[in-house]
Amino acid sequence: MKGDKFYIFLFLTPAFLISGIFLYYPFFENFKLSFYKTDGFFNSTFIGFDNYIRLFNDEIARGSTLNSFELMLYVAIFQVGIALVLAIMVNSIKRGAAFYRITFFFPIVISGAAIGLLFTLIYNYRNGLLNEILVNLGFERVLWLTEQSALYMVAIPTIWNYVGFYFVIFLTAIQKIPQDYYDAAALEGITGFQKMTKITIPLILADLKTCLVLAITGALKIFELVYIITKGGPARSSEVLGTYMYQKAFVDSAMGYGATLAVFMVVIGLTLAFITNKFIKNDKLTY
């Protein structure tokens, strides 16, 4: 369209200006820190690529990365999947839809600290809910957080906690599909499952892709629940990049190495998002 250049510039400038100054510039500072051995304040020594060399030889970082990938896989499949199914279900009913829309949102509203405490109290060996039930039924107590199980045990609350988030986004997207499309389809005999695969999903593909990207990037940043529920343990078996980075930067005051981990997170996230983008073809979908 004529004059578009002007509008593109006008519409994009404020957002990218603000993000540029208060998000990209600080991150650039963080990037610079990754070349220093530093507490971030008074003691700084330029060490070139040493932090990156350390990163590639760091066993804990390697384990955390693998754990993060595993969590990411669960999150992308189950969090987004469950949310999509729930959204389609809620969209298909008339009575009670508002009730589910509100209640599904509850876990997001409650802070991570509280959800973390809740699950700590569920898994706790001595007095936890699960073991109380077992003891009452006459069974032995079970150690829920072991080196083998800990990652799954934190994946459950992590997935559950944010299903409502994707649910709301999907529901918003589905509801923009005009009813006459379904009506037309119904005339042609398309109902139920077909309605979902042939109309609903193709028409919200852009939103689905965005959700996948959000899930992948979100999974890399997972921190709070893991930190509270397992402390990354037992014996670092559930350590993820988010917890490791927090530990380095804030518990250990090793800002330089923490910054390196942050850069690393952004790099893998971008690579994965790029792959996702290629994977789901970006056909300009309109009605």
Binding site: P14, N43, N124, K231, P234
Partner: protein
């Protein structure tokens, strides 16, 4: 159409400038506040110059000292109408205070007075000359302190922080549970191991401990294995008794000394096991008494020193000291308009009367004078410190934080047998 375009540009420009310009407008308002003292100078004779002091401490939140401290500041402002104090305190648990204070000091935004950790956390600030040497500072009164003042002396020979209170760590034992199971409260290492063995047979957890947040456990096991001489070693020495201590933790874990889920428990959950009388012993610090009183079980509890079997010391040596103190920032001290006020406030807060008033809220051993009317159990703790042949700081206040975290978080790996104490120490020392 063109007019609308321009109108639109103007609108967006105004809104985005509004955001960014908020900055510059604040800048000028700042200059105004800075020039205020000059303006009030006209009223000289009648009033003293108005001074604004920012004080940062960790006494906030439900820290019992927080309320008392605010009251102390209010009293002071009442007496000194020309001084306005901004209390910028934040609980140390929030985890942001170290970052905040270090950023403040490195960005020329330091508070006038602060109550902060005089440990490795303040090293950068001290080395950069951002806080004053209190012994050389004019008008600063450092009289009346007990040995806690000497503990603040920096490697360079100067004192930058004036202490308020101290703390000690030790083995808290539930006397009632020991009596009920006819087990002897341990005074030697053998008795300690025996107590573990005997409690392990019962439903009671012998020692409430986390092996991941294993601060106190690591310290006390190192102390037991080497005595205070080895305990005070540097990490670089890779002292073999530290490694022995770490291996002892694994040995006791196999005996059932700790909770089954010790590798994922946080300190609050650990404390809770003790408070619910599900565990007989716990390694904790003197601040723990507050919780025990609240739980209504302080009378049943006593604190004992870690039994030492190593050759470098004796039972009775304890981990403790005084790691927090009052600092005056160099910037405030060198500012003619503020020096008098900040020194006066410093002297007021560290005077024996006020110091005791603040410390009384916590029951910790004070750095000046004596607390009176102490409950028996707290007095016993203070006696523990007074009788100790030797006291040294916790390990994590002495060594590189990264290295200590590495040791602490590796304990579960030692327990499950994938690493040895020696190996962990070596790896930790490599981080320094």
């Amino acid at each position: 159409m063109k007019g609308k375009k321009i109108g639109l540009v103007l609108f967006l420009l105004v809104v985005s400038l509004f955001l960014l310009a908020a900055c510059s407008s604040k800048n000028s308002s700042n200059e105004q506040t800075e020039s205020k003292p000059q303006a009030t100078e006209n009223n000289e004779g009648k009033e003293k110059e108005k001074v604004e002091l920012r004080v940062v401490t960790t006494m906030a939140g439900t820290d019992p000292a927080g309320e008392v401290f605010q009251k102390v500041l209010n009293d002071y402002m009442e007496k000194n109408q020309h001084i306005k104090i901004i209390n910028d305190s934040q609980s140390a648990d929030a985890g942001t205070i170290r970052t905040k204070i270090n950023t403040d000091f490195s960005s020329n935004n330091e508070p006038e007075l602060m109550f902060f950790f005089n440990t490795i956390d303040a090293e950068g600030i001290i080395n950069a000359g951002k806080v004053v040497n209190l012994e050389k500072a004019e008008g600063v009164d450092l009289s009346g302190y007990n040995s806690m003042l000497e503990q603040q002396r920096n490697k360079d020979g100067n004192i930058y922080a004036a202490p308020q209170s101290g703390f000690y760590e030790g083995l808290f034992v539930n006397k009632k549970l020991f009596e009920e199971h006819s087990i002897k409260i341990p005074t030697t290492w053998e008795e300690y191991e025996l107590a573990i063995e005997q409690f392990a047979k019962t439903d009671i957890i012998p020692v409430a401990a986390s092996t991941v947040d294993s601060y106190y456990v690591v310290e006390h096991y190192a102390l037991a294995a080497g005595g205070i001489d080895h305990y005070s070693a540097k990490l670089a020495d890779q002292d073999s008794t530290w490694a022995e201590g770490l291996d002892n933790i694994a040995k006791h874990a196999k005996m059932g000394a700790f909770p089954a889920d010790a590798a994922t428990l946080d300190l609050a959950m650990v404390q809770d096991l003790f408070k619910q009388e599900q565990a007989a012993m716990i390694f904790e610090g003197s601040w723990f008494w507050g919780q025990l009183v609240e739980a209504g079980m302080a009378e049943n509890v006593t604190v004992i020193p870690m039994p030492v079997y190593g050759s470098g010391g004796q039972t009775g040596d304890i981990v403790g000291g005084s790691t927090q103190g009052w600092f005056i920032s160099t910037k405030a001290y060198e500012d003619e308009s503020k020096r008098e006020a900040v020194v006066d406030l410093f002297n007021y807060i560290t005077s024996e009367e006020i110091l005791l008033e603040i410390v009384a809220a916590t029951g910790q051993p004070p750095a000046k004078g004596q607390l009176s009317d102490l409950p028996e159990y707290i007095a016993a703790g203070h006696k523990l410190v007074a009788d100790a042949p030797a006291v040294d700081l916790p390990i994590n206040d002495r060594i590189l934080p990264e290295a200590f975290t590495y040791i602490r978080e590796s304990v579960p790996s030692i327990v499950n047998g994938t690493k040895t104490g020696e190996q962990v120490l070596k790896e930790a020392a490599a981080l320094e």
